[in-house]
Symmetry: C2
Subunit: 312 residues, 2 copies
């Protein structure tokens, strides 16, 4: 039910997936009657299982409160399907906050994770860049940035990058650049079992080449991504195919115990299909076990640092 | 002596100014012998007064330390010319940190200013946007952001914008968006005698139209600007003339008691001339008295809040 032109675009997106991805089975989650009518109108009755959800959360509702209050909201029902093993992933193009809250509430966090992060893949000029956090945590301290680094590396490896280079987004490439959070995070990232390449800058996210994973707080990540989008619109350039938001899919919520994809509220049917494709690929590529493994190292280090016994 | 291809580009830039701006008198600051030789080679002996400065500060020196240690560094000599009334403005395309430190050290701060900010004018699609801080203060709290807002408004009025709209850069347009700094700054900006339009986003800086002045900390401002630059390069678009960095000029250091322009280290002669033009316009438009007046209000408010007598 989520998204600016839902539920039509959601159903049309599912039909695109059915045509193009025989490996993917879509379950529609929402009011049964609405789904039946939409499918009927497209001569597609019975093409997808429909899981009834009688409530939904509007874009202007307080996400955390609405998710707690509405047990039968479509995002909560979808998250329960994943928790119970009836689905492998959830996709929502509705309120990002509500989809995040529902995933966190129902699926819980992976061990080692304090707060999940939104990860997007920027199709930069010299190769893709995984940027996180793109908006979930406006106030993220050094320890969270370290978690994001490990999660980002795990994600990048599922995208075929064998030893991802990790950069810390800062206001200059030299060591010592940055605000107090960055300076503390720099020291912490140096201690992690990752290929930390130091500070990177705003243009490194758009151009790529210096780092495969770029770590930042959700405030800066969000501002930067929207700035890049705005600049591309400003340039008036015909956006190359690989930059086409329709094909970019959505963002992954990394750190919850399940695969959850968050799409733009303005998603078209094509964009909805891309989001489903992103979710399906994450499942097929074993993102969740990789994340678990990467973060397990963090748990061990914390236990060691605290003088506790290390399992295994 | 500053800049990647100094001192040649500086002298060539001065010659462009001499040709194009009869209203502007350039003084060259640097080693007399070097200047004489460069001018000689261009058949331009005696075209500019040369003020001798025997030292200079390299890009890789610690700016604050080097400025303190080198009394005869060109940036310090230039700042003294302004302080003593022998020049109206300084322009440097050398180490930004050194030029800032020299201006702050020699010129001092305007009343009401805790820390100066770097202001750039982004030639956005729907009209120019004054963005500050672009990098001087990676850690800027709510009170600094309020100073930046007042200084930005004063600057925008010199650019012909009568009642500048001020936006607070955030990770969403809705009130309540932002990290803790932004939430506190939002409340403070609402109390200022400015046209505060609320939160604006990264794309609003590239696209313009929502705010004429966008206020942020130096960390976020720097990341955003470099992201926009990177995206423009990424788009591969022929950059429109108004976006040409050669013609953009440099950045203004707002909050010191004098006009100081900071240019890119990679500035060409054309870019050096644009920086000089920016400085000359700021002087002609009365930027300094306008800043003084805008910040005076802040001083009065602080005195009132502290229960002190208000002058005048």
């Amino acid at each position: 039910m989520g998204g600016d032109s839902a539920p039509d675009t959601v159903v049309d997106g599912a039909l695109l997936v059915a045509d193009e991805r025989p490996d993917v089975q879509v379950l529609l989650v929402g009011p049964e009657g609405v789904a039946a009518e939409l499918l009927d109108r497209r001569n597609a009755a019975g093409r997808f299982p429909v899981v009834n959800a009688t409530q939904h959360i509007a874009m202007d509702e307080d996400p955390a409160r609405a998710v707690r209050a509405k047990r039968d909201a479509s995002v909560r029902v979808a998250a329960r399907l994943v928790r119970d093993g009836a689905a492998d992933a959830t996709v929502s193009v509705g309120s990002t906050g509500a989809a995040m809250a529902a995933a966190l509430f129902t699926l819980g966090r992976l061990p080692g994770v304090t707060r999940p992060a939104i990860a997007v893949v920027v199709p930069a000029l010299n190769g893709p860049v995984v940027l996180l956090d793109a908006g979930a945590n406006p106030d993220a301290g050094p320890d969270l940035l370290a978690q994001f680094a490990l999660a980002g590396v795990a994600y990048a490896t599922t995208r075929g990058i064998d030893q991802p280079r990790v950069g810390l987004l800062s206001n200059g490439a030299e060591p010592g650049k940055g605000d107090e959070t960055r300076k503390a995070a720099y020291a912490l990232l140096e201690t992690l079992p990752i290929d930390f390449v130091g500070n990177v800058e705003g243009h490194d996210v758009a151009l790529g080449g210096r780092a495969d994973v770029v770590v930042t707080d959700g405030f800066t990540g969000n501002v930067l991504l929207k700035g890049i989008e705005g600049a591309l619109a400003m340039s008036g350039a015909a956006v190359p195919d690989r930059l086409d938001p329709e094909r970019l899919g959505g963002a992954l919520l990394l750190g919850v115990d399940g695969i959850a994809v968050l799409g733009h509220g303005s998603s078209s049917a094509r964009a909805v299909a891309s989001c489903v494709g992103l979710a399906a690929d994450a499942v097929a590529d074993g993102l969740l076990p990789r994340l678990r493994e990467a973060l397990d190292g963090l748990v061990r280090r914390r236990r060691q640092a605290a003088g506790l016994a290390v399992n295994g």
